[in-house]
Amino acid sequence: MALAFAAMTALAAVAAEAGGTLTVGMTAGDLPITTGNPDQGFEGYRFVGFNLYDSLILWDLSNGDKATDIKPGLATGWHIDEANNKRWIFTLRQGVKWHDGCDFTADDVVWNMSHSTNEKVPEFDPSQFAQARSYLGNYAKVEKIDDHTVAFETKVPDSLWPYEISYVLMISPCRAKEVKYNWVDYAQRPSGTGPYKFDKAVPHQRMELVPNAAYWDKARVPKQDRLVLVPMPEASTRTAALLSGQVDWIEAPSPDAIDRLKGAGMQIVTRIYPHNWTYQLNFAKGPFADKRVRQAANYALNREDMKEMLNGLMLEGYSTVPPSTPYYGNPRLYKADPAKAKALLTEAGCLPCNVTLAISTSGSGQMQPLPMNELVKSNMDAAGFEVTLQPMDWNALLQVTREGVGKHPDVNAINVSRQTQDPFNALIRHVWTDAWAPKGSNWGHYSNPAVDKLTEDIFAEFDTAKRLQLLTKLNETMNEEAALIFVAHDLNPRAMSPKVKGFVQAQSWFQDLTPVTLSP
């Protein structure tokens, strides 16, 4: 009897430790903020945002074999108001509790929208305004219908609204009131509804999260005991930390470290995800205003060479979105053909064709910008261009990007990698006249009445299947127009210790860490 009791106690102890502590080396230069929508780009969302918090609509990250799409989150359903195509009705999940024990209600949704958008209320947080505003450009207002139903109004009909609201994370009004809207205090005691709860953080060093055992989605209660997040901006430091056993998982190992990591028995996981590495072009002034020059630039590139240079850690980019995207369609592909490129330049009367490309020396999602840009220059020069690379740091390039060609007419293209997670960010923002920079992300001021009409049709089409057809047509049109210089899609590499089990890499910028365990 005593032996059986001892054995059961031992087994229980092993079970309690079975999940282990997962320590992740992030590429971020610092810990993401914990007051809601995080900073540090989508890495902040991946490790902190979607772990501490939920949005009304989440991303389904459970399957790595297909492109991710949205799924119910704090809202169980949503539909457009049949009487008003600018009004979305959201049914909220019942029985959800914040980490601080308060109930999640419709009032909380209304409060959260004020918190991010209304500077006249005490709960307004300018940093959250800064973070959420990018996804709320079409937001007009929200109203409570009953305790479990809210209605959002958009400024213009917007069939893509569910995608936009998926980036807006909900924080606890209870905790915010408790700390008297002191967001510095809130950051030390954040409260969401997410699968992890905040445990502690040492500024600039590490943040520790623990499972939220009461998470509403029982299938996503974290299986590990603790998640530790460590900022490690230097790639060689991350590699050394993994090899020395200091961390179990690193983001974005550099391509030249892959063989060393594999040799040490580490798992290297890669998967295509909604990312592109392209050049946005200047349509207002200079050679790229001519479609033939844009097509020539696309024909000039040998993407296979670039893949080899990156040790295989990219997919050749022939379109704005990767082929696994539902609206990829059958676009015109610009396979490497320098002779054709030169012929097009000759036809356009631009030989040699002088172009200036603004590039960064590093940056979020920029992969290996310097060698990649050098190869692009070499390919384009060989096909009749004379490329001048204008390097700058990431911050400066972001400023050039946001200000648009109006302020930078002599830059012919910018090399800024983009997320293509949802249809608006993947396609529309590059070519819609209403999205001209600085108002939007159409940096080069592309404008085409046919494309604008197509875009308006997409916004007004609430039937998913029909909208998919329109989106496919838009992607094919963008390829035909050579609206960008398509180069590469990142494969989202990460390396992890052989002890890490259960991770399914989704085709997304976001990842689900909840199924991960560590074997002893």
Partner: protein, 318 residues
């Protein structure tokens, strides 16, 4: 002496003011903008303009500077744009972390460098001099970030004796210097950080010792029949002011933090803070850190000057 100290402190005020003006101007001359990096990648310029207003970055530059200066005079360095924590807290924590490195790197570098230089200077032209000088050249020439990576590969990756990065194990909330689990995080960054000062100090000390040994009074001491050890003591004392000046500069360098070493080891010190502030254009942190570090340099130089004048009163009179 008091007048001398007061005069030196008064000199520090325009220096600190000048540094703050220059650093403020440099931040704004550089391309980029304080809010570009903290905003999401998809934020538009229009959104950034709205947020600029909320943070007060829409005001004319001279006005922003005066507002900042007014706050500084009351001890308020503002709030970090990136972390939203008070800058004074960010800077003091970072400075404490760097000081921890310096606490070990300073004696290691100064003692090693001084002893090596004194030995080499005492035996000029001999094999020991050549060995020390050669070692010093290597120490000065090796890029310390490269040395840091090599040490990590050797001690952390290959032999797993020491941690590769960070400042403390998981679960800890503070650095406990008396516990090996924390203290081992110091070893590699301290060695890396010390290498350049060791080289510089040994070369400076060697030159100073060799120079003093050739002065006439040394011949006089020997003629009086003093032992070689007693002569060496006089030589070392007379070479000290020159060495102290270089030690002061190196102390400032160590306490100011090394961007490269702290980045390689992800050590959250002032160099790491400064590099992040530059990348993010976190203007309040950048200004606060540069101002604090410049004051540390000014104070260090003041202390060194006072020490020099104590050792050699001729300096004070000059």
């Amino acid at each position: 002496m008091m007048f001398y100290i007061l005069r030196r402190i008064l000199y520090a005020i325009p220096i600190a003011f000048g540094v703050s003006v220059v650093c403020f101007a440099l931040v704004y001359i550089a391309p980029g903008d304080p809010l570009q990096t903290v905003m999401p990648p998809d934020a538009t310029a229009e959104t950034i303009e709205i947020v600029k207003k909320a943070y007060g970055f829409d005001k004319p530059l001279p006005m922003q500077f005066l507002i900042w200066l007014g706050r500084v005079l009351t001890g308020d360095l503002g709030m970090s744009i990136s972390t939203r924590r008070p800058v004074i807290l960010e800077v003091s924590e970072a400075l404490a972390n760097t000081s921890l490195l310096a606490l070990f790197a300073v004696p290691l570098a100064f003692l090693t460098g001084y002893v090596m230089g004194a030995i080499a200077g005492s035996f000029p032209g001999r094999w020991i001099d050549r060995l020390v000088t050669g070692t010093a050249v290597v120490g000065v020439s090796l890029p310390n970030y490269w040395l840091g990576i090599v040490l990590v590969i050797f001690f952390a990756v290959e032999y797993m004796l020491l941690p590769a990065t960070g400042m403390g194990p998981n679960g800890s909330t503070g650095f406990h210097i008396l516990e090996w689990s924390s203290a081992k995080f110091l070893v590699l960054p301290v060695i890396t950080l010390s290498m350049i000062p060791v080289g510089i100090l040994s070369r400076t000390t060697r030159a100073a010792v060799a120079e003093v040994r050739n002065q006439d009074f040394v011949q006089t001491l020997r003629a009086k029949g003093l032992s070689e050890w007693a002569v060496t003591r006089h030589v070392l004392k007379n070479s000290l002011p020159q060495v102290l000046a270089v030690m002061g500069l190196q102390f400032g360098y160590l306490i100011g933090g090394s961007i490269l070493v702290e980045t390689v080891f992800t050590w959250p010190g002032s160099g790491f803070l400064l590099s992040k502030a530059i990348i993010n254009r976190d203007v309040p942190v950048l200004q606060g850190t540069i101002l604090t570090l410049s004051l540390v340099f000014v104070a260090t130089n003041l202390v060194i000057d006072l020490l020099q004048s104590l050792i050699d009163p001729r300096i004070r009179r000059a």
